[in-house]
Symmetry: C2
Subunit: 455 residues, 2 copies
């Protein structure tokens, strides 16, 4: 078995590989504000070269670079693996137990922004290939990898990269390595991702801030914004924009069957414990909660601000108010059409004073459970983690999976090696040495299984 040779080799070099991961984690790469992106792409390119890849750094205009690598083989099959090297902003900084870009390693727990989402996934692929190179094994499949630097801002330029390099990206299937393990340590496989429409709504009233004694006469933009927001969503989470639900396809029978196979009690109990809540929105429980999580579109307030937000009291009537909204979309909602619905909704209710700025768009995606890449990833998961993986017909999260399914016409599975409840997008994000090293084996096993040597 080649995988056991990889495992044996890995046990000798694991210390070095963990150090390389920490090096990558110490390099900021915050796409929301362009911090450290080029440096991170450059560092990743070097790690890939060292691993044996033929590497290209793609760059279109001002877009963050894509780092692309190939490892050819004699196999007729080609697998495309996707990851992202950019990270979320680390704020609020004061809630971190150690600085977000120091990658402090405490008894094998490595705390850093991007530790789980998704630099440990990226490095798992790179190091899997490095094992093959060092062992002088041929790959059982042509491998192409694409690491982008804009996933956390909604991959705004990846559609252009995919269009421009369409020929290079030809493959038979895709694996997006940007996920992880459930609370019981079983790998999660997502056969589709939610889409996303991210907008900023801004309301401006007076030309300047006013003394709040003028509140009987001067419109307060925060109150206006709240009125507009209240018109968008009911307290149970239902989105009130006309036509919002029109294009949604109800979950198929196969989808429902997969959902019923999920160990949702463990999943839901883990979420409640981790977030310190004793009930979910609207009191939903059990399989219904899981269905909502996977198949309900949402309108989330990600940020909200107006006026004086410092300590103590200031009696001001602010001149503007702003909200950041992320709408998660389910198959087959279209973010571009829904943006127009949102604008029409506000206009029809007289909110002409509210400016709508779209920050990003992602379409939802879907792969059928019977696809051969689903079988390959599932077998690899069972082999490496010694437990049946949790296969979800859809993910609560979003990503550019639609570029592989809809644009390149590939079956695609979204998975990865992050530890359970890893604080992705929140303070104190972490991974563990163990999760990372097992992730390297998982990536190798996926390549082996898809290459067909072991099944």
């Amino acid at each position: 078995m080649r995988l056991s040779e990889v495992e044996s080799f890995l046990s000798k070099v694991s210390g070095y590989y963990v150090e390389d991961l920490k090096t990558l984690l110490k390099q900021p790469s915050i796409s929301a504000r362009g911090e450290g992106i080029d440096g991170c792409a450059c560092m990743l390119r070097d790690f890939m070269k060292d691993a044996g890849f033929r590497v290209e750094v793609w760059k279109i205009g001002d877009a963050n670079p894509v780092v692309y690598g190939e490892m050819p083989s004699n196999s007729p099959k080609t697998l495309l693996m996707y990851g992202h090297y950019d990270v979320q902003p680390p704020e609020p900084l004061e809630e971190w137990v150690s600085p977000p870009f120091e990658a402090v390693d405490s008894d094998g727990k490595i705390t850093a922004r991007g530790a789980a989402d998704s630099k440990s996934n990226v490095m798992a692929i790179v190091k899997a290939v490095e094992c093959y190179s060092r062992l002088e094994f041929d790959l059982p499949v042509n491998l192409k990898v694409l690491f982008e630097g804009e996933e956390e801002i909604g991959s705004p330029n990846l559609p252009r990269y995919v269009e421009m390099y369409r020929d290079k990206l030809k493959a038979d299937a895709a694996v997006c390595f940007d996920g992880g393990l459930d609370p019981k340590g079983r790998p999660e496989l997502w056969l589709g991702l939610k889409g996303m429409l991210y907008v900023e709504l801004k309301c401006r009233a007076a030309r300047v801030d006013a003394h709040s004694s003028l509140a009987p006469l001067i419109e307060n933009p925060a109150w206006r914004l709240i009125q507009a927001l209240t018109s968008l969503r009911s307290p149970d989470g239902t989105i009130l924009v006309d036509g919002w639900y029109d294009d949604i396809r109800v979950p198929s029978e196969e989808d429902i069957k997969l959902i019923e196979d999920v160990d949702y009690d463990t999943l839901l109990a883990g979420l409640k414990r981790h977030f310190g809540v004793d009930r979910f929105l609207s009191g939903v429980e059990g399989v219904e909660a899981l269905k909502k999580l996977l198949f309900q579109p949402t309108c989330n307030i990600a940020g909200l601000y107006s006026g004086y937000t410092g300590l103590g009291a200031k009696t001001v009537l602010p001149r503007e108010a702003c909200v950041k909204l992320d709408f998660r979309l389910v198959y087959d909602q279209n973010p571009y059409r829904l943006l127009e619905s949102l604008r029409r909704h506000l206009k029809a209710r007289g909110f002409d004073d509210i400016e709508v700025k779209a920050l990003n768009f992602l379409e939802p995606s879907k792969t059928h459970p019977s696809a051969s890449i689903v079988k390959a990833v599932s077998s690899a998961a069972s082999e490496v983690y010694r437990s049946k993986p949790q296969i979800y017909p859809n993910s609560p999260g979003s990503g550019p999976d639609y570029l592989f399914t809809k644009r390149l016409g590939l079956d695609s599975v979204w998975t990865g090696c992050s530890p359970p409840l890893s604080n992705a997008h929140a303070p104190n994000e972490y991974t563990t040495r163990e999760s990372f090293l097992r992730g390297i084996l998982f990536a190798a096993s996926i390549i082996e299984h898809y290459g067909g040597l072991d099944w």
Copy 2:
């Protein structure tokens, strides 16, 4: 005429007095966060000593000091003048044309936080008395002045100071020098002030920030807060809390007569121009707009924040959301009782997850138009500004006037020498040399008229 001798003397020393004002403006004194308060009190005490006052600095516990001064005379009458040396926070800093504590003087326009509200008023009183001292004139009235350092946070400790120094503060009438001129340059006299209830509402949901993909299940505290806020106020400004309007006394016949005498078209057109709005809330106009401004209680959002407020997109489900609300109250609403009404309102609607923290309380006040101090200030205004003052039965703003009317039992007039539309509480607050110097004469003329020498 003694006032013309004051005026003549003032013309010789005006340059020095303006420099002294600028010195006071350069000293921060932000009560909302305790910045520079003691230094400002100390500086003010020295200016008052130089002016000839017998000065005491009062200090109770952690409260900001009160600077108290006396100028006795042989008159049987005693006038108490009030002012405040603290200022609002200067944020947003990026909107200032010059730094808020540099007091840049450009062709006689002095831009600084506190220039209008209210250090030029405070210094006008001090310098008026300094003129008497230098000219060796006796005052025609016993003068007591009280300058506090917490007006901008709602004078939370002034009730204790007034109680403790009740005997010292005995007087026949009060003038609160913390106002200014209308858009046509006429002094405004307020015969009552609105009260205030300032609260912070905070909603906490999960223990930590979450990835926004969990929005179908985890309650978003910003949405909760918005639901609570929507229950408090209708879009036309009506407050929906049970019993909020119960204690309001309708404006009297004298009040309405005073309102009809106001040049409200000029006032309202000036407000629209300054704030760049083409209509007022609910489209109200003319005398009805003025009535709303003076006699309507309000619920204003002074600050609002949740989640990610930086540049670009972050897909987070925040763990908390917070709003700062100032409720302006009219005669004879009680802020302590209304706080209880607010708590009951939220509780009755199931908002137990919203924490209510009261930051300050001010009761509304009222003085009858026939009071002799009203006549004295009105005559002084006519003399110094050569135009009939605008007398308002009530102010849209708030202050601790109730301590003089309700606690000390005095008639009280709120007035001052700030220039029109001075950006109080907003960026680029300013006064002018001319406004300040005329304010010194106004203060002197009030003292003269109330002392009875000239009428």
